[in-house]
């Protein structure tokens, strides 16, 4: 057979494949977007703990040195920061898997295409990491599995056609990874944010009280407290937005896993990923939160 008709046939087959794989590409892009939303949570845990420690130190008697306070806060919050480093790798593993699905699908995602980057190589980093109490070896293995699957899919992209078996083989590991991310975001990180908020809210109340000047002559001495209110309110507003993101992330885990299971169950049907609507709804919710943040 001459080469040109062969190429045309290949293009036709690939075109048909792309249409069939559109739900895979859309799932991959949505899952990757979730990983993008999750990314700040990893560093946020330690930062929020440090912020709480600094606010507590502001209210304690005795000498006060801001730099020393920061160092003490870093020391106390180090375990949370280390947990955050591992937490970040889980997000990277999800992102790698999602990105690989988009690439192997050979279809262009209908949304969140701009979020897609190259693979991060999370598998190697996960393999080199010891299990931490929060992210134990079983969870690390699951994250490593989907990251390795991503690397294999992309490396063999030109040879391999995505099969139902590939998705099915990774469903359990994906569930472990997403559950671990959800616990981290929705329970642990959200709890830390709430602790920090409570301290800041108490301090803001005291700043407001201290700002009160009964006479014009008293105003000058109250100015530091009056100016300090704005910074505290900004800290509280940022905390509130982050808490909303963390809670929203927690609500979407089931939808993401259901969408992946749907892809497996309806792999041969074009309209297979109907539950992607749930994931899309979450993404819209997070976008609304980000819009709120931008408007501040």
């Amino acid at each position: 057979m001459p080469l040109r008709p062969l190429a045309a046939l290949a293009a036709l087959l690939l075109g048909g494949c792309a249409a069939q794989m559109q739900p895979v590409a859309d799932f991959g892009a949505a899952a990757n977007h979730l990983a993008v939303v999750y990314k700040p949570f990893a560093a946020g845990m330690g930062s929020s703990c440090e912020q709480r420690e600094r606010y507590v130190a502001l209210g304690n008697p005795g000498p006060f040195d801001d730099a020393a306070t920061q160092r003490a806060a870093e020391g106390r919050c180090r375990p949370l920061k280390e947990a955050g480093v591992t937490a970040a790798l889980f997000g990277q593993a999800l992102s790698d898997y999602a990105t690989a699905l988009v690439k192997v699908s050979r279809a262009k995602a209908t949304a969140f295409d701009g979020d897609l980057r190259e693979l991060s190589g999370a598998a190697g980093k996960l393999d080199a990491r010891d299990g931490t109490p929060l992210f134990d070896s079983g969870k690390l293995s699951a994250a490593s599995k989907i990251a390795r699957a991503a690397a294999a899919m992309v490396t063999e992209e030109k040879l391999q056609v995505l099969t139902r078996a590939t998705l099915a083989d990774n469903q359990d590991a994906l569930k472990v990874v997403v559950d671990a991310m959800t616990t981290y975001a929705d329970k642990v990180y959200a709890g830390q944010l709430s602790d920090t908020r409570d301290i800041m809210a108490g301090e803001l109340g005291r700043l407001v009280l201290a700002s009160s000047a009964s006479t014009q002559a008293d105003v000058e001495s109250r100015l530091p407290w009056r100016f300090a209110q704005a910074a505290t309110r900004a800290d509280i507003a940022a905390n509130d937005l982050e808490a909303r993101r963390a809670r929203a992330f927690g609500k979407t885990a089931d939808a993401l896993l259901a969408a992946h299971a749907d892809l497996i169950a309806n792999f041969d049907k074009i309209g297979g990923a109907r539950r992607l609507e749930l994931v899309s709804a979450f993404v819209a919710q997070v976008q609304a939160i980000n819009d709120d943040a931008a408007a501040l």
């Binding site: 845990m45 703990c49 420690e53 507590v56 209210g59 008697p61 106390r76 919050c77 375990p79 949370l80 280390e82 947990a83 931490t132 109490p133 929060l134 992210f135 134990d136 559950d179 616990t183 329970k187 642990v188 709890g191 830390q192 709430s194 602790d195 409570d198 301290i199 108490g202 005291r206």
Partner: protein, 151 residues
């Protein structure tokens, strides 16, 4: 010399194994207890800030710092609950956490709060060890503290 197994013993072990709490349930309960520890610590901080001349200020500070550390520990530890009553211990732990939170939201007397805070320190310590018997004993102490604070 080992005691030969009995039917009752085998059945008890099987029931305990069947009802052992999952990792996710445990993580949720510990995260909830961490929140209670953090919340209690915040109340003590606010007490110190608002009552700088109080006689029990040092006690409040010690409890507050211990609770802060417990909250951090509970957030990074994945504790596996051990013992035949692990599922019951977990349920009791969650229930006690909720009761403490409810109490602290309503109770304004600091004496009651310090007693409850001490019992939360004990419960958090027992949870971190992971022994079901220790948790159940600490839960009893929490309930006693709640009773005493209400009377």
């Amino acid at each position: 010399m080992t005691t030969p197994p009995t039917a009752a013993g085998i059945a008890a072990s099987a029931i305990a194994a069947a009802t052992a709490p999952g990792a996710s349930d445990t993580a949720d309960a510990l995260a909830g207890l961490a929140d209670v520890a953090g919340h209690t610590s915040t109340l003590l901080f606010n007490y110190r800030r608002d009552n700088p001349a109080a006689s029990d200020i040092d006690q409040a500070l010690n409890l507050e710092m211990t609770l802060d550390q417990r909250a951090i520990d509970l957030r990074v530890e994945a504790v596996k609950l051990l013992g035949a009553n692990a599922a019951d211990a977990l349920a009791q732990l969650k229930d006690a956490s909720q009761k403490v939170d409810d109490f602290l939201a309503a109770e304004k007397k600091i004496a009651g709060r310090l007693e409850i805070a001490s019992s939360v320190v004990g419960l958090a310590g027992a949870a971190l060890v992971g022994d079901a018997g220790g948790i159940l004993a600490a839960v009893v102490a929490v309930h006693s503290a709640l009773e005493s604070a209400r009377s």
